[in-house]
Symmetry: C2
């Protein structure tokens, strides 16, 4: 056996550390309502949505590979910082600081060039300014709305979420994709009609 | 609200159907041994490995976006066909037929152009001939080996898997990446030394 390079060992250490994302549970239930969803599954579902729905981005010529890198690593910081519920205003106050600290620790497990690359990609996602980040954010907002609709509004009811909250928080979907906002409106309408909201 | 296009509805139907992958459980345990891993989490972990480890592919100039599309959808057929354990020779006999049938049903939920694109990508992965498929297969083999090592060989012990089985089944890692095969050999050696195999 040849000697393993320190570079490969650091990369594998990051991949091993990332396994913990499977134990970070979100508020959303999976569609059959049997249990809550974890961040690893959520991130996979965003990857699938990205490749299938990229054509609906408001801006043309998106770098789909970059969006995928974003959604693959976007929740990694929650290994240390935990999941912050989007409708929990108190937890959201400390969220940025907790997540910055987590990003410092986690990305630095990688070799320097990749630590830099993925920290930049995560920062870009958080800033939500580039066209790729805007689209990734749209998908990240639409996904829990879809699951909550499919799970009969279970999480919305648990937390007393109203239609106005949903419109306020998720209006940013429109920033990445008018078409996906159209679908979100369709979900909101159906949720109201079915008494889920 | 504008009328939603039939195209978008089919795409969302596929994304909704894909949620079922979160209930397809594999033999491998997650690294803390608390429970078995499901296909959605596994697929996410392969995405992460792909972007971090693509530099180790034997062949140069890989299309990383294509590899990601492969690993995102590679296990989707298991929604209908179930997970087939790599060391279960009896189940492997009927696997191809069950999975072809599943692919026929699942990809046809998508609009025709995407149904065609993703069926082709899945077929290419299964054939394991292109350089992208060879690398995706390497990652798909290395991942459970890594988890089983981290979970103290729990699955190997349950199924009486020996070092020779592991070498026979996972030698194909070498086909996609000599370097990752080097890491796999390192895992096998450690597993033997620690009495996990």
């Amino acid at each position: 056996m040849t000697e393993l390079s320190p570079r490969l060992m650091r990369q594998m250490d990051f991949i091993i550390e990332a396994d913990k994302l499977k134990n970070v549970f979100r508020r959303s239930f999976i569609s059959d309502q049997s249990r809550r969803e974890n961040d690893a599954e959520h991130s996979w579902h965003l990857c699938l949505m990205t490749i299938i729905l990229a054509e609906y981005a408001n801006e043309p010529d998106l770098n789909v590979l970059k969006i995928l890198k974003m959604v693959i690593i976007h929740d990694i910081v929650e290994i240390d910082a935990g999941d912050t519920y989007i409708y929990d205003e108190a937890a959201k106050q400390s969220q940025a600081q907790r997540e910055q600290k987590a990003a410092d620790r986690l990305f630095s497990i990688l070799p320097e060039d990749q630590a830099h690359e993925y920290r930049q990609i995560w920062d870009e996602f958080e800033a939500a300014q580039s066209k790729e980040a805007a689209f990734a954010k749209s998908i990240d907002r639409l996904h829990p709305m879809l699951l909550n609709y499919l799970a009969k509004g279970k999480t919305w009811k648990e937390h007393g979420v109203a239609e106005s909250d949903i419109r306020r928080i998720n209006g940013s979907i429109q920033h990445g994709s008018e078409d996906l906002w159209g679908y979100a409106e369709h979900l909101i309408k159906k949720s109201v009609n079915e008494g889920l909201l």
